[in-house]
Amino acid sequence: MTVLPQSIDALCAAVLAQPHVGVLGAGTKSGLAPAASDVIGLAALTGIVEHTPEECTFTALAGTPVAEIERRLLAHGQHLPFDPPFVDAGATIGGTVAAGLNGSCRLRFGSIRDFLIGARIVDGRGTVVRSGGTVVKNAAGFLLHQAMIGSLGRFGILADLTFKVFPRAEAYATIRAQVGSLGAALETIVAAQRGQFDLEAADIEGASTVWLRIGGFAESLAPRIESIRRTIGVSSDVLEGSSDEAAWHDAREMTWVPDGAILTRVPLTAPQVPRLDTVLAGRGASRRYALAGHVVWIAWPDTIERLSHALASLHLVGQVVRGPRGHALVGAIRDNEFGRRVASVMDPEGRFAP
């Protein structure tokens, strides 16, 4: 049964009504959907509660679609610099934070943790707990709201969230380079980074196409693009305007993922990329490395057990974003004593336990 609370009070009551509950936003991330039979849906807990453009902050209820937030921000020349994925698919702001998902274009200014400044959380006792605040800098209390990032509902249900935002660049441009091999792709990105360029994104698609994006004042882009192309020294073409937008829209919506594949996100570091890539290529998995090799999105064509085994053998942990439910994390999962203690405080009766 799914209940759809329309207020935070109703959300508290819904938590207390069942011994075991799962939470669902818009359901854009099938692998993370709750396995519990009693589900609290947040689709009705929606709306931007406050947006002060000159303050560069906003507060929204957890079920608010990211698309609605982006539209509002864009009207004031602002955006969410962590580039949340699945916006067109209907992702909610609460689901994005609970899943801890950032997009490729978060390389320059940071991830959710750099922009989430406060939240109200309904804990396992049905109590509303406020953490953080509505100002951009705040060292009072604990950063409990930050612990909600990626928590997949284990510590409580996000009721509303407050973010700081940044101005959106006036224009963007992208360099696309076919470099022939994964090694060359990684070297190209290192060269661009050593060149002190302010990259918005640095992705490797497949194993040999490098994507580098910059943003800023329109008149500054041409000389910067030239400078980057000179530095990386490989043949490339440049995407501007709508073709630039389309390329990153496709990355954000994961349009490259084949139907039926298990979409998994794996944090790692650049030195771990080559070994993983050999495994992925061997299984015929499509993949996209983002953030200069700090994360890879994998479209796994085989079973979840084999994926888990492959990641575990490389000491990596994957988050199954789209795929069969009940396996949110796979691979070399480690138990965490600190996290267990937080859960014991936030959810003493285990209502949110998976």
């Binding site: 801890g100 991830s111 100002v135 705040n138 209390g141 409990l144 002190q196 302010d198 004042f217 994360v295």
Partner: protein
């Protein structure tokens, strides 16, 4: 183990010269950068390894004796004041940079590493560690983590929590945990962030993985003078509204300018009521466009004078004036209290006007130096502790300013932490359910209630602590005059 058995156990663990128990040796550890509070610890243990710290924490837990981990003791909220009759674990010798990887842009450091040392190590690679508290040449990363320290460049770069990717820590009951990792991305809850800013109540960070930031190809640092403080505050709103994203925006008022001038000859305009420092950073063509827009905005904002740093030396001089402001104010007054409340940026002008009125009403001078881009105020309340009642009057004014920040929808602290100083205001900013959750989190990490007991969530009264000059000042070793 009983409490009385602890000292002999400590003596078995470390060499005698690293276990301080004589009153003279303990004096230097009685206080921190706030100086208004002090307490006498039972002993100070100078730890030399992570294993030693783990063992010390386990012994304190077994004996139920409070402990406090200490770096350089620069806390401005009383966070590094010892617990009376507790143990101080001095971490300054845990100062190894365990790993420094310029290609992956991460460093793994021990808690006693000085903040600036990371940037110094990164300099040959064009990298630096972004959080830059004014005390960065002495304060340690362990303390920065405990208090989620900020600095002048938070506007664009964020605070300590935004730069720490992973932490290995010993919790207050001796359990060792590893949080986060060395990738920019992570799966599972962001527990690293929860540890940051916990003010030592959860345990002690033993190893910290930080991300390094690329030094921009160019900085443009502009100093603008204003005839009124309000004028400088309004200019900040204009810059933010324009869509520019400077690396830093800082304001100093007349009193702070005078102090900085006397201390370090920063060559600020002497007759200005306020100066605004705006620093742009990034790739040259982009910064050139931003600079053009910034100068236009500053012109429209009524700046009486603008100066642009011509080279790195001039930039360094502008920042030296700003970063030395706290210590420089010591030249104007034998004692001062510094507050660090935050207000919404759009209400900065209102907050400054109200502080000015409060200052006039009670006849206490207030110098203002602040991170304007973040709305993070730093009013320095000047008083002479030798005058009867002067400290209490200054405290009353400080409380009024903190309550003003809460009333305007802000925070009681932007970057100094709650510590001892602002405990009684935490309950005015948060509700009972919020505080109860904080206490239960603390209890889960520290069931015996021994880790930096009394800070942040402690009782609002000041039992066990006393006001006064820094012990070294009393002893005539250091002086602020």
């Amino acid at each position: 183990m009983t409490s009385s058995e602890l000292l002999p156990a400590l003596a078995r663990l470390v060499a005698p010269e690293r276990l301080l128990t004589r009153p003279g040796a303990l004096a230097a550890y009685e206080s921190d950068g706030l100086t208004a509070f002090r307490a006498r610890p039972r002993a100070v243990v100078i730890a030399e390894s992570q294993d030693e710290v783990i063992e010390l924490v386990r012994l304190c837990h077994a004996a139920r004796v409070p402990f406090m981990a200490r770096g350089s003791g620069t806390s401005l909220s009383g966070g590094a004041v010892p617990v009376e009759d507790g143990i101080v674990i001095a971490l300054n010798r845990l100062n190894r940079i365990v790993q420094f990887d310029p290609d992956r842009r991460v460093a793994v450091v021990e808690p006693g590493v000085v903040n600036l040392a990371i940037s110094t190590t990164g300099a040959p690679f064009g990298l630096y560690y972004a959080p830059d508290p004014s005390s960065q040449s002495v304060c340690t990363i362990g303390g920065n983590v405990a208090f989620n320290s900020g600095g002048a460049h938070c506007f664009r770069h964020g605070m300590t929590a935004n730069h720490v990717l992973g932490i290995k820590a010993v919790l207050a009951d001796g359990a060792v945990v590893v949080l986060g990792g060395d990738s920019l991305e992570h799966t599972g809850p962001d527990l690293t962030s929860l540890f940051v800013g916990s003010e030592g109540l959860f345990g002690v960070a033993l190893e910290i993985t930080v991300r390094l930031v690329q030094r921009p190809s160019v900085y443009r640092t502009v100093l603008a003078a204003y005839a009124t403080l309000q004028g400088a505050g309004d200019a900040v709103s204009r810059v933010i509204r324009s869509g520019l994203l400077p690396g830093a925006m800082e304001i100093m008022d007349r009193l702070a300018i005078a102090a900085a001038e006397a201390a370090v000859q920063a060559h600020y305009p002497a007759d200005a009521a306020a100066v605004l420092i705006v620093e742009l950073e990034g790739e040259r063509p982009q910064v050139a466009s931003e600079f053009e827009r910034l100068m236009r905005i500053l012109g429209e904002s009524g700046a009486t004078e603008t100066r642009v740093a011509a080279d790195e030396d001039e930039r360094a001089r502008i920042w030296k004036g700003r970063k030395s402001a706290f210590s420089a104010v010591g030249r104007l007054s034998p004692d001062f209290i510094v507050q660090d409340g935050v207000v919404p940026r759009a209400r900065l002008g209102q907050a400054l006007a109200e502080i000015e009125a409060m200052s006039a009403r009670c006849g206490i001078r207030v110098a203002n130096v602040f991170h304007a881009g973040d709305g993070n105020l730093h009013p320095l309340i000047l008083y002479d502790g030798r005058e009867p009642g002067a400290h209490d009057r200054a405290e009353e004014l400080a409380a009024e300013i903190i309550r003003l920040c809460i009333r305007l929808g802000g925070s009681i602290t932007g970057e100094h932490g709650v510590g001892l100083e602002k405990r009684r205001f935490l309950g005015e900013m948060y509700g009972e359910a919020d505080l109860d959750c904080m206490r239960r989190l603390r209890d889960a990490m520290d069931p015996a209630g021994i880790a930096n007991r009394g800070k942040k969530l402690g009782p609002g009264d000041e039992t066990g602590f006393s006001h006064g000059l820094h012990p070294l000042e009393r002893a005539g070793v250091i002086s602020r005059s």
